[in-house]
Symmetry: C2
Subunit: 479 residues, 2 copies
């Protein structure tokens, strides 16, 4: 009855990266497809990754004074239309509820694509005085955007996310909030997910519908494409004015408050897969892995082996390690492949000879490297090894980012990176004109990723129009 064939192999990532990605999503049991295109099921293993991301973010949100709330999932059409840029950006991809029970609704309701309008309506009820500010809110929910092309994690018609929304008495405070939340996203990417980021501000063309400024953290995937992994938006007082929100300041003068919003979604799980995965499947950084260590008894039929493996599991559990023993009757070969597919950072093998020698064999998922660990000091050596894997994955991803970030001074050089050098991020100067941004896309096949916070001076002129350049911008091919 035992499964003994090796788990089915997946597409080679160098042959077909998109198919490799889909294979990993299903074979590692992260997702299943539902009957509606673009609506995915997050299976226990996929959802457990999200729970670890949630708990990391939620802790940081609360430490910085934010409270969770719950907003309705439906937005009346008239409410969505109150802010002009916002409705233009989102209305074309809304799903509309038109019937409640057997009755046609007097007004169409859209399933929230994002909830700025709902927060604004609520604030118009509760914000009256400077004493009511700031409101620092967040919600965990799913949103719907009726996209044409869909892929697990990367582009779903429904996806899980958190959306933070805040309202402040001053522009300075709102801008500081926007920057603070971007730093939390950068920290989450780098220190939890081992994904190094490029921080910057979006161009007007790429910013969020209705925002004055959109800040972003951009990550480079294994295929050198860019993934926007978290964004925070500064709205100025535009939304507040559109929704009639005003407060009395300390001098009893009526003022318009300033707003922000910021979000990170299950999309980062797509990023996690495409940053660290390999041809054996998923590779998870230990800090976010639902299972950090898998213990496999070898020759488990021999006396004492199962008991020793169970004892090892208990000791690691007591040491705070997320550990699981695989005591099924599947073959060792099947188990090796299965837990590699699932990206478990460390495999501990324990057989009769190991037990006799007071050791176990640890195999690292990132490098395949095997080391022998004395059982005696397992509570120290395993956490240390896990931290080493975490660090190693970050460094490898950082090398990928650094080695494939180029500086260019002509459009041809940008195109050359994309077409002939396997892709990457390309830094150039930019005049700030949207026409040049569009021209660069047309000629080199890239979009602007961001204007990095850390600016460099690569020259004096825009490579597209030759006019004086104002800023350095980074280009890439985006997911």
């Amino acid at each position: 009855m035992a499964k003994d064939k090796k788990v089915e192999s997946i597409t080679d990532m160098e042959q077909d990266f998109a198919q490799w990605f889909t294979d990993v999503c299903t074979k590692a049991e992260l997702v299943d497809y539902s009957g509606v295109k673009g609506l995915f099921i997050l299976r226990p293993y996929g959802y457990a990754i999200w729970e670890n991301i949630q708990s990391y973010l939620d802790k940081h949100f609360k430490e910085t004074g934010h409270s969770n709330v719950s907003m309705p999932m439906l937005i009346p059409e008239s409410l969505l239309q109150k802010e002009k840029d916002h409705v233009e950006g989102f209305a074309p991809e809304c799903a509309w509820v038109t019937m409640g029970g057997s009755e046609e609704l007097p007004e169409r309701l859209c399933i929230r694509p994002t909830s700025e309008t709902l927060f604004c309506e609520h604030w118009s009820h509760i914000v009256h005085s400077w004493r009511d500010l700031p409101c620092l809110y967040n919600q965990w929910c799913s949103v719907l955007r009726w996209e044409k092309t869909t892929r697990p994690f990367l582009r779903g018609r429904e996806f899980l996310w958190q959306e933070g929304h805040t309202i402040h008495a001053t522009a300075e405070e709102a801008i500081a909030e926007t920057k603070q939340m971007l730093e939390i996203y950068a920290d989450t990417c780098e220190n939890l997910l081992a994904m190094p980021v490029l921080r910057g501000v979006k161009t007007d063309k790429e910013k969020f519908a209705g925002a004055e400024d959109t800040y972003t953290v951009e990550c480079m995937m294994h295929d050198r494409k860019a993934l926007q992994s978290g964004t925070s938006h500064y709205f100025g007082d535009g939304f507040a004015k559109a929704f009639g929100i005003a407060f009395s300041d300390k001098e009893n003068k009526l003022q318009a408050p300033f707003e922000t919003s910021w979000g990170m979604s299950t999309r980062v799980i797509g990023g996690l897969i495409m940053t660290h995965g390999d041809n054996n499947g998923l590779v998870l950084p230990p800090r976010v892995a639902p299972i950090q260590v898998i213990v496999l008894p070898i020759a488990a039929h021999k006396p004492g082996v199962t008991e020793a493996a169970e004892a090892l599991v208990e000791r690691l559990k007591a040491a705070g390690v997320r550990v699981k023993g695989d005591f099924s009757d599947n073959s060792p070969g099947w188990k090796f492949a299965e837990w590699e597919m699932k990206g478990v950072p460390l495999r501990l093998e324990l057989g009769p000879r190991d037990i006799e020698g007071g050791v176990c064999v640890a195999a690292r998922r990132d490098s395949g490297e095997k080391v022998t660990l004395p059982l005696e000091s397992i509570e120290e050596s395993v956490p240390a090894l896990l931290e080493d894997v975490q660090r190693g994955l970050f460094e490898k991803a950082k090398r990928n980012l650094d080695e494939h970030t180029y500086a260019a001074s002509t459009v041809d050089e940008v195109r050359d990176v994309i077409e002939n050098r396997g892709g990457g991020f390309v830094k150039t100067m930019w005049c700030g004109d949207e026409a040049c941004e569009l021209k660069m896309k047309e000629l080199a096949g890239v979009t602007s990723r961001c204007i990095p916070f850390e600016q460099e001076r690569l020259g004096d002129v825009c490579p597209v129009c030759g006019r004086p350049a104002k800023k350095m911008i980074v280009w890439g091919v985006a997911y």
Copy 2:
């Protein structure tokens, strides 16, 4: 600038319980109304209560081997129709999505009213062998039911809940699961929310659409009406057969598996309000209270008072108490009323004379009783006092339940309890016939709450038809 008028008073609960309830929901800042009828906003304080319930339940779900997943929010009409009883129960109150962007959809999609059909479809993909069983899943989400009458917490068109769904190789295992989850709900009501429960099984008329058996925990509110606070359903193999789910057993024979589902929602927050609240507002049991202790400096302008209050907050925080200091410039009267409205279990007052005497004054929200506590041993006395409040609230609610649960042997006696004695639960014998259940409703204005697990023999015949009685049943007026 400081607020110094006492917070607005609320409707007297003995005058108009329904209006009192709504007043508490809004004045304690638990909810706000959105622009769509029946879709409520959970504000930070209301959501924090839900987060405490969530974390308690989630811990117990995981300890009993369950994993969280995420299912889509939309169900194709054809999928909803697969189980006959289920669709009959839910289709009339579905909200329907008919447009995606600007295009009409080929098939209507309903926003999930509950997700049995989605779990079944998923299981038809992944369950093949006895090795794949059981699947013990749960999801935290919101669902929509297009109700006519809506009230905060008690009946929303959208509400937050958890829905557990499991699938097993045997009926015995599924039934044991159904009972186990009911026990978790009973424990949550009694030990977290201080709401004593009556456990039992629903009649066929009252059971969940598509279930073989529905188990329930019923609580008695302050107004002696019943609130169904958690239910778990045993489905037999009905859903599995309707959805074509089958597995090979150990003898390689194809079998239909057995399913359960179980849910608890934000409705219990309504129950919490209506069980413990009083004419000063909310009263929260300490274990579920977002803020367990509010520290108020008295005569805060005098030297050393604010510092001493801050030190007290820090000491309690370090002792694991959820504590907050109110250092605003609002008047003491306003603060007293505000934190009473919010139901904070314990108020600690600290003024210059208290500091001099090395004490503070503790006022209990449940009884109004004041005691003087030596600051020296505050880390022990405050948690002990909180446990005492928790116990006291449970006992008070238990007395309400016990004193207003009656035994009756005629329909007139049942009606008398409802019409002349202020209501309550009434136990009678019952023949098991649905006609008598309907007749009792017509004549006495009650519905069956449950057939209690703990049966008593109150006589031999059904009070409605006079035929031999099979079971004892409990009647009441339900929310």
